[in-house]
Symmetry: C2
Subunit: 640 residues, 2 copies
């Protein structure tokens, strides 16, 4: 038995290991957070630790320089413990922690979009309305001649008042019923869940208590997680927030996450990461903001991709990544949040937006619903810009979907100064062709930016390209005060000097960032083209394009065309519809009819597997250029 | 903040407390087991600890002699901490631990009675049969052209094979479905719970796995807990065991338990005591004996009195003990054992035998069902000899019930050498009138007795009385080798000298034991008389008396009449029917029809509240004598 000691932020964590154990696995067992977005296969070089004492078997790697190796730097994923060791885990956590910060979803434009979506859904004849309600009843206290048990007494009163034929009690309500009745002189407020003739009393409180009957909406993305706390009785939003997906330290994309989940204890690790580090902190913050308890959340609706749904539930997911790509479920009803160790009301049900394929999940069925393209005659494209990019093409007669792997760049992941579209993010940018000076806007009330979100990155790349600062390959070709090259000749554009922002480093974008982003936009564009051509069509058929995702409401469609992310059609066809997965999940939670409609969409939507579609890879390679290797596909961009 | 250190069995437990905190409460918070059967009100004197260091505010009490006080002995329940203290907690636990030992329910006679009850139920037209079953299905594995998700694939196969219209998956089954399918080449065995047209897949395992579909039956008594592990498919008993109720250290009877449950954290404390110290150890032992896992228990049925049911669920119970004595529930459906933190299958339902009053609970509805008195024309009495003694009087036309507090004596509690009717217990006894020498039988294969169970105590008291060794008040009036008097003149009869048994102390019965037992039998007898006279009847109407409970199958009815516990009617009217609550709960678990019948009995049974019945207290006082202060009520006993 070998003792491994991790030094993290000044404290020590000890754990026993066997000789030959992988250091990264040992750290994960000890719950020491080490970033490993490639899932520990040696590819990303992010799991750096420093050996202070003892011996590790640790091959050299391009990620560690000779000098660093001598200083003790190693990659945890390729190091095996040979003796008792002490290793320092650097403050990787600073990036991780800032990614995991729970932030208010404060963009007024996002809210405006959300309100418009709500109105459109109602206008389409899909009303608000669900089966949770609060009912106040009073009754005569028991006497020696009237010794009916409490639950029957309350059931009588509720049957008389609501018309329900059967009244049953959730366990939490039963446990406190006697006390609440006697503390409130037998006048109580009951939270009811009604199903057919049966009303289930989920909770009881003294009459006059006005705590909202709350529900939780979650958009569970591979990189980001957004949530709303809503009042189930009137649909009002009580609070809203977003954070990162805590699983990211086990893998940046769904494939690496599934690989990690297949390792010993991995399923539990990934489930805990998203529940304990993302959803629970979000729910806590939302409850604190609304002044209610976690137990006042009586239902939850979550939209996530198929892999996220499986990993959230702790369902064995390996077959999702291996041909023929079979998930355990598309639909999954009757799960209680307590089964996932969430501390909401113990009988709070979990509604999952339905998946329709291994790589088109509930985020898309919910998001496509919110886009309303299924309700119109015009041929439209719905694009969700997430770590998995998903597309739906169709109208009120047919719906076809596909998915591509874009990576986290749209949400600011894999970009050195990237961040989610929250307060402090640069969300729009102009660059003066002559002076190369930037002019940008920042989300929220912050005086200075702290990073850059997806829409800001699109603008920056488009403006750099239009100003001739970078070429079609994304390489820097001009020089100036804001352009810097490192020893390897890698170029970088400084958006904001640290002297001006007060930050510890400049806000900049470099060639690696640009390259990551070009691959992300290339994946989206080639998926669009492949799906259209599979039906013998091209972009000219598109009457509308709905762009959704956490990219930021500041998205400039013209710039998105300029970099070759969106097809070169009339710019008035484009609309940004915000976080449509979140809006769709909101609708599913608060409106039974919406839920039925989403289920119907999921049943009718077809799924195109791009990985087996001929021409997709070629199309992707062609799209990894600004705007495209085939410039004729972007005639309007030629104008610059 | 004060530090309290408990020394228990050579180890130390530290906990912080506030000045003035009660030492017993501090111990309970620290989970240090101190016996307090009176619930810490200073009455029983059992919570003795020894102060080693520091200061306690601790009044003198009759339970601690002057000498002991000087040595540091205190009662934890009346001591308050003033400074940091170190206290030694004596090995109270030895009595507690022996009470909590999980023992096989090995009496062959009990088993014979159990089998007879099963046969009688079936003969009455109530068949075995429940909605749990195992079904084996095979299916073609998925391909690129057949990408249906696993749950839908299995649902198709199950619908075809079983005729169910809807198939849903319990969470545990869903989590492992993909793995089990692929490990078993898509041939699996499913554990199904069928409700109408819907089959719920509770579990999946490879085809060919023959693990029984198990159910757990529990008779939850105030003092003792008995359990069976059964095969739900054929009703066979896989294993059987009994133990003590872990709540006993918080109070010997239901009233003291409720008082304790009303204290801060008391509800959780009592729930944990019975779940973690009684039911879970029983289930673990049963599973080990049957060679299955706890998760293979798919359902549980429990019979307990109303208070036990409330405390098991952690339901606020104070109103049960306070006029007008209102429980929260009689019936309680849809509880899952996982809500009680039991580690059975997470979707295993808990069926509770229904209560019919605050002091007539599910143990009686289940036990009365098993007695079959409701199926016959003859007027019969059913007596359950537990800590709460409960009675049902009636026939196939009416049923009336009542309850009295007998204390734990029938199960060997409150008796210095008392024990449950398990291996090593003296269960029958004769005493030679002339020599005063005993002649006894011992349950099981033990060569020497280790204690005495209820039936043995009845015999001993009856024989001592008949031999003139004790008088009608239970006081010793003869002298001899086996009679001993202490300094206060309290007499004691030595049943087995330690030199003969190899035990550390003699097995004996003293005047306090006899007094406790006389009060217990007096409660039963006066309840019988009060119930009969409430209907203008007397014992002559009784055509049959069914005696149930953990008293032991060796019960000698003639001796029970001799001590005035049972009415003086023809001895052939009496039958001992064993642990009828357990048998009834077994029937409810394995037979849906039995469950419906028990519910029907509960709805029709009336309840007589003895505490408000005139004459009950007088009747009780008269019955606290051997056989009774009114000797004319026991004409046949006069013969001796």
């Amino acid at each position: 038995m070998i003792q491994v000691t991790f030094r993290v932020n000044g404290s020590e964590v000890h754990i026993n290991a066997n000789k030959g154990d992988k250091l990264l696995s040992v750290a994960q067992r000890a719950n020491v957070a080490i970033d490993a977005p490639c899932s520990g296969n040696g590819a990303c070089g992010k799991c750096r630790v420093r050996l202070l004492k003892g011996e590790l078997e640790s091959p050299k790697t391009r990620h560690i320089t000779e000098e660093e190796y001598v200083m003790g730097w190693r990659l945890a994923c390729i190091s095996r413990v040979l003796t008792d060791v002490v290793v320092a885990v650097p403050d990787i956590a600073s990036a991780y922690r800032s990614r995991m910060k729970v932030a208010d979803l404060s963009s007024p434009k996002e809210l405006e979009i959300f309100e418009r979506t709500k109105a459109e859904i109602e206008a389409a004849g899909i009303p608000f309305g669900n089966n949770l309600s609060a009912v106040t009843v009073g009754m005569a206290p028991p006497t020696n001649d009237d010794t009916m048990p409490d639950n029957e007494r309350v059931a009588w009163a509720l049957r008389a008042q609501t018309g329900a034929e059967k009244v049953v009690f959730a366990f939490l309500a039963l446990k406190k019923l006697a006390r609440v009745l006697r503390d409130s002189d037998f006048n109580i407020r009951c939270v009811l869940e009604t199903e057919g003739d049966t009303a289930t009393v989920l909770d009881v409180m003294p009459a006059g208590d006005t705590t909202p009957i709350a529900g939780l909406v979650v958009d569970l993305g591979t990189t980001s997680v957004a949530a709303l706390l809503v009042n189930m009785e009137d649909g009002s939003v009580l609070a809203k927030a977003s954070t990162g997906n805590g699983q990211i330290r086990y893998g940046a994309d769904v494939i690496n996450r599934i690989i990690e989940s297949g390792r010993e204890g991995g399923g539990t690790r990934l489930q805990k990461a998203v529940v304990d580090e993302s959803i629970t902190p979000l729910a806590e913050q939302l409850c604190a903001a609304a002044g209610i308890g976690m137990k006042n959340i009586y239902r939850m609706c979550l939209a996530g991709n198929t892999t996220m749904n499986h990993l959230l539930l702790g369902v064995y997911a390996e077959p999702v990544r291996m041909e023929p790509y079979i998930p355990t479920f598309f639909h999954c009803d009757d799960i209680r949040t307590s089964s996932l160790h969430m501390r909401l009301h113990p009988d709070a049900r979990l509604i999952l937006a339905p998946n329709i394929g291994s790589y088109v999940g509930g985020d898309i069925t919910a998001g496509c619903f919110a886009s309303m393209l299924w309700n119109k005659e015009e041929m439209a494209l719905f694009i969700d810009l997430g770590t998995n990019g998903e597309l739906v093409f169709g109208n009120n007669e047919f719906l076809m979907s596909c998915a591509c792997s874009a990576g986290p760049a749209f949400e600011g992941g894999d970009i050195s100064c990237g961040m989610r579209a929250t307060d402090g993010a640069i969300d729009a940018m102009k660059i003066d062709k002559a002076t190369m000076e930037p002019d940008y806007t920042v989300i929220g009330k912050a005086r200075h930016p702290v990073g850059i979100c997806g829409s800001g990155i699109i603008d920056t790349i488009a403006e750099l390209f239009k100003a001739g600062i970078i070429n079609g390959k994304g390489k820097f070709s001009r020089e100036g005060r804001r352009i810097r090259f490192d020893e390897n000749g890698m170029g970088e554009y400084i958006i904001a000097f640290k002297e001006d922002t007060g930050l510890t480093r400049d806000i900049s974008i470099n060639e690696v960032d640009i390259d990551n982003f070009i691959r992300a936009k290339g994946a989206i564009f080639s998926a669009t083209m492949t799906m259209l051509s599979s039906m013998g069509m091209d972009p000219s058929v598109l009457e509308h394009v709905y762009v959704a995702g956490g990219i930021g409401s500041g998205i400039n469609m013209d710039n998105a065309v300029t970099i070759g992310m969106l097809p070169d059609i009339d710019r008035s066809c484009f609309s940004y519809i915000g976080n449509s997965s979140l809006a769709g999940a909101y609708a599913m939670l608060t409106s039974q009819k919406s839920r039925e409609k989403v289920d119907e969409l999921a049943r009718t939507m077809t799924y195109l597997e791009l990985s087996t579609e001929p021409g997709y890879m070629d199309s992707f390679v062609g799209a990894c250029f600004l705007p495209h290797t085939d410039a004729e596909m972007f005639p309007s961009v030629q104008l610059y």
